[in-house]
């Protein structure tokens, strides 16, 4: 299994994460500051790094920058800072994911898995046919009507599937509720209620790790829904 480096100055948090990840069968390396983390990275083969931001000696942001100088190992930043600006900063300097404290352990594990899969498997994926749509870890095979997220099959109802396919096919474009309704049901959206919104929530609940902070099906409040072009 993969080797994961967990770096946080709070030992209890490191140990809790260790427990969760070890249960999943990963090997854990622990570091309590940035410099330790860098030295472990040089000595060991590490497949994923979980990095706190506020640490003594070398903080997580600088450590991430340093790691990115020579490695493309997935880095998940784990921070108490929940501001948008903090998240944007972290992701911009090279982190692959950002989790705010306090975190849901299950979400952490899911994200670790997701990142690992993408790091280890997706890079070597052969080119697929035109009926396969891939956005990040989300993959829709229109021939088999199969949807996978991070290689795990997700079961969607036909309407949910159609909506997701519409959004993925037109990635980057925002669809309003009425537009989605007209596209899927093929009838004019007079008095379309919140059916579409409910379906989309269901899709999110199925394909997202944290439906409140969706990675794929994003809500543009007051405008519509979209899937970002990766």
């Amino acid at each position: 299994m993969a080797n994961i480096l967990v770096c946080d100055d709070d030992r209890e948090i490191v140990e809790a994460i260790e427990i969760y990840l070890r249960n999943e069968g990963y090997t854990i390396y622990k570091a309590y500051n940035g410099e330790d983390a860098l030295s472990i990275l040089q000595k060991e083969e590490i497949h994923l790094v979980i990095m706190d931001v506020m640490m003594p000696r070398l903080d997580g942001i600088h450590a991430t920058v340093r790691i990115r100088e020579y490695s493309s190992v997935p880095i998940i930043i784990l921070s108490a800072k929940s501001e948008d600006t903090d998240k944007i900063l972290g992701l911009n300097i090279g982190a692959d994911d950002y989790i705010t404290k306090p975190f849901n352990p299950l979400e952490l594990v899911a994200r670790v898995k997701s990142n690992l899969r993408r790091y280890t498997k997706l890079g070597s994926m052969p080119q697929e046919s035109s009926s396969v749509y891939r956005i990040g870890g989300l993959c829709i095979n229109d021939d088999t009507k199969e949807v996978t997220v991070d290689e795990e099959t997700v079961r969607l109802t036909p309407i949910e599937y159609s909506i997701l396919l519409l959004l993925v096919k037109n990635a980057g474009r925002v669809f309003s509720i009425d537009q989605i309704y007209e596209n899927i049901w093929n009838e004019e959206a007079i008095g379309a209620d919140n059916t579409v919104a409910v379906h989309i929530r269901h899709i999110r609940e199925k394909i997202e790790i944290n439906p409140k902070e969706p990675r794929y099906v994003k809500v543009v409040w007051g405008v519509g829904y979209k899937v970002d072009r990766q």
Binding site: D10, Y20, P102, F103, G222, V223
Partner: protein, 932 residues
Amino acid sequence: MKTRKGLTRGKSILYCSLQQFGIWLAAVSAVCLIAYSFISVKVESMNTYTREITYTWNLFSEDGSFDETESFDGILWDSLHDIIRYNVAKSQLEVNGAFDGEKVIDIRTFVNRRDTAAEDFDLYMESRNEDILTIQYHLKDLIRWNKYGVNYTSVTMPETAFVCYYGAHYYNRADGYLSEEEIYVLESLLGEDTIQQLLDTANGIEYYYIKGGAETTEYDQNPAAEAAVGEIVVENNERWRMHEALADILLDSAAVESVYLDQNGDLQVVVRMLEERYRPIDKPGGIQDCVYSWYAYDTACMWLEQAVEDISYNYNEYLGFQSRYGAENTNIAYHCEMSMMGETVRVSNSDLDSWNGLDSYYREHYGRYLIYRPEDMVFETNMGTAFANEETLFKAFSKYEYAYPETAHIWLGIDTSYPVEDILFKADAAYAAFHPYAYLVAALGGAGLLLWLGLLLFLSVKTGWRAQKGEDQESAVLKLSWFDEIPTELAAAIGAGTAFLLICAWISLFHYARRQKCLICAHRVRVAVLAGCFVLLCSLIFCLFWYSLLRRCKAHTLWKNSLLRVLWQKGIRRPVRAFGRLLFQFYDNSGVFFRSLFILGGIMGINLILGFFCAVGWGKWLLLIVLITGITDAAILSFWIYHHLKRKRIIEAIKRIREGDLNCQVAAESMHGENRQLAEAVNSIGAGIKTAVETSMKDERLKADLITNVSHDIKTPLTSIINYVDLLKREKIEQEPARSYIEVLENKSWRLKQLTDDLLEASKISSGNITLHPENINLAELLKQALGEFSEKFEEKNLTIVEDFSEKEVYIEADSRRMWRVVENLFNNICKYALTGTRVYLDVESSGQEVWLSMKNISAQALNIPAQELTERFIRGDLSRNTEGSGLGLSIAKNLVELQKGRFEIYLDGDLFKVTMTFPVVTLPAEENGCL
């Protein structure tokens, strides 16, 4: 800021010309209206003197044609009078219907034709046993003589010759004899010396002379002479008789020019006698041959003068009438018959010979006619109201007493097609030419005046602002002309001078016009155009000065450019300021009582003292007193105004501080008295508030930082708590209380996390420390999305959503994620607090300007908190913190809405909980609706 728009040079010239055209139009119309509403004729009443008769009419009357107007009646009325006079004149001057210079006129009868003076004179002659005096002349002579007047020669004769001129009759008087002792001498004829000489020569006789003329009865007696009366009377019999007769004549006669004593002491009388040529036909020896007293001679002379004058006047009038009322000169046809001085005289300008059947002839042939025969009781007319009354008509004839009005016959007719160009023709032409257009011309004139006024207003605003093409837009610059550079006083003087000249011109023109109505009648249009041009000139000059004044005001050069200012700056300013400083020093250094005394006492004291002086009668100093009082009052008034101007500045500063300009300071150094204290106080208050605000802002920032740091610090241990509680949960603990304890731990630790997040967010929002990303969002879409998110939660609590999005697409400008947060908080609130199984109402309403979003639900618990406090729980501290959630949801929602320029209102009514949010609506271009 609105950009000021100027005029280009061409446009301002155009507008100015238009304005002048307007006044020209107005003036021409007005003058036309006046000029076309009257007609004037020149009537030559004497050789030298002509007068104008003017008939005016109302152009705005209902009368269709001229012969319906009152002026028509007026002209006819005057003509009727003229015809009567013509008739009278004719009776005097004509023989058998033609003028005859050889006609013999008895001036005695002629002169006294109006009264009974002739009979009185006849009585006088009779009393002296003399014949009735008749004096006859040829008509042509009388007329001829008028050219140079009646001439006399002065004849000097001695007293005796004078008195004896008419033989022995001298001592007689009509009313008896004189008493023998008296001599009457008119004082006016004698100088002081002459009287003394008279007294000396008539020594011993009682002399009386009458002071001041025949009527005065005040006698001055000479008492010394009284004793010797008898002898001297006898001795000087002849002499006193002479004196008496002289006095007698002098009293009655106008013929004596003067009386004097010659070198020998003899009395000489200068008599005025008619020249040789005034010999009557029937008295070849001259008038002096047929009268027997100086009195009668005088009377005859007077008759002659009167006759010459009257006959000539009548002759002139007769000639005038002959031409004016000849058939070829007038449209008025007439037949007039009157009995005068015993003979019947007829006048007519008609070629009709017969005087029979005139009634029907006039009725048939003339548009307007008058038939009047008082003898036969015939009075018939179709003319206007002026002729309606027979009484007035009768009076017109009665003026000539020697004529007999009841014998008059008159037929008057007017050919209303006016074949002859007389006054009626002209008046009718003027009336007909202008009457139909009177309203139009009046309207045009009014429009012109309005145009002038309108453009005056417009140009008053615009003058001086010259349009200038900038790079991207037009702007306006204030531009002054060379005229505006002339010093203000000089320009004012020029203006006043010009105005004076123009007014003088107006007055003289007006007076000239009043005397030259005929001229105006003949050249109505020319006069109107000329008057229009003159008004235009006046308007032009007025505009030049008026606009210049406005431009000066706009450019603030009215004072800057004045000579007074130079005088002020060069000379007066310094001493005035120094004096002012001295007064202020005194004012500042005295207390409130003395300050009041300084101002009010000053006025009252001086006014009182001067009033006292007035009262005790320093009348001649009144002007000086008024002057001093006025100057003092003016000085104090100006101080008062100065004081209040400074006070106003302080008030303005207070206002600005109140509005938040904390750096505002009043210049206290330039103020005095209470104003300075007030200004200093305001300044220190301003500074105090500034410090307070800075402190409070600093505190607020510190608070926000504190909360941020604390919540970060809380989060790290919280992470461990949550993680280890989770780990504990996985330990498969079987004991029942322990499991539920762990459940509680888990719930509360998550609640703690929520609280921390909310706290952080609330503090950031309330300190305004967030960045908004406004975009156009559709409120209905947002609500539908939110309903989708919450559908299961609502179903769990069995809440029915009743939505009424009357506007399907209402766009507002807001940060979409923050708006979602607002809706999420409110929906969460509903889920938490709404009574299970009730309905929740969602309404979106729009007025086009604003959109209201309201949510209504029934609270499960009684709402015993004021609505306002629901959004302020975080700040106020609420006692009941036992519900789930942080209690910050509403507060966050409210703050977020208000940050996005919306209004957030909570309304509680019993268990009804209603939230209303109001946002300004954004109108989108149509194509943006779909996708972004």
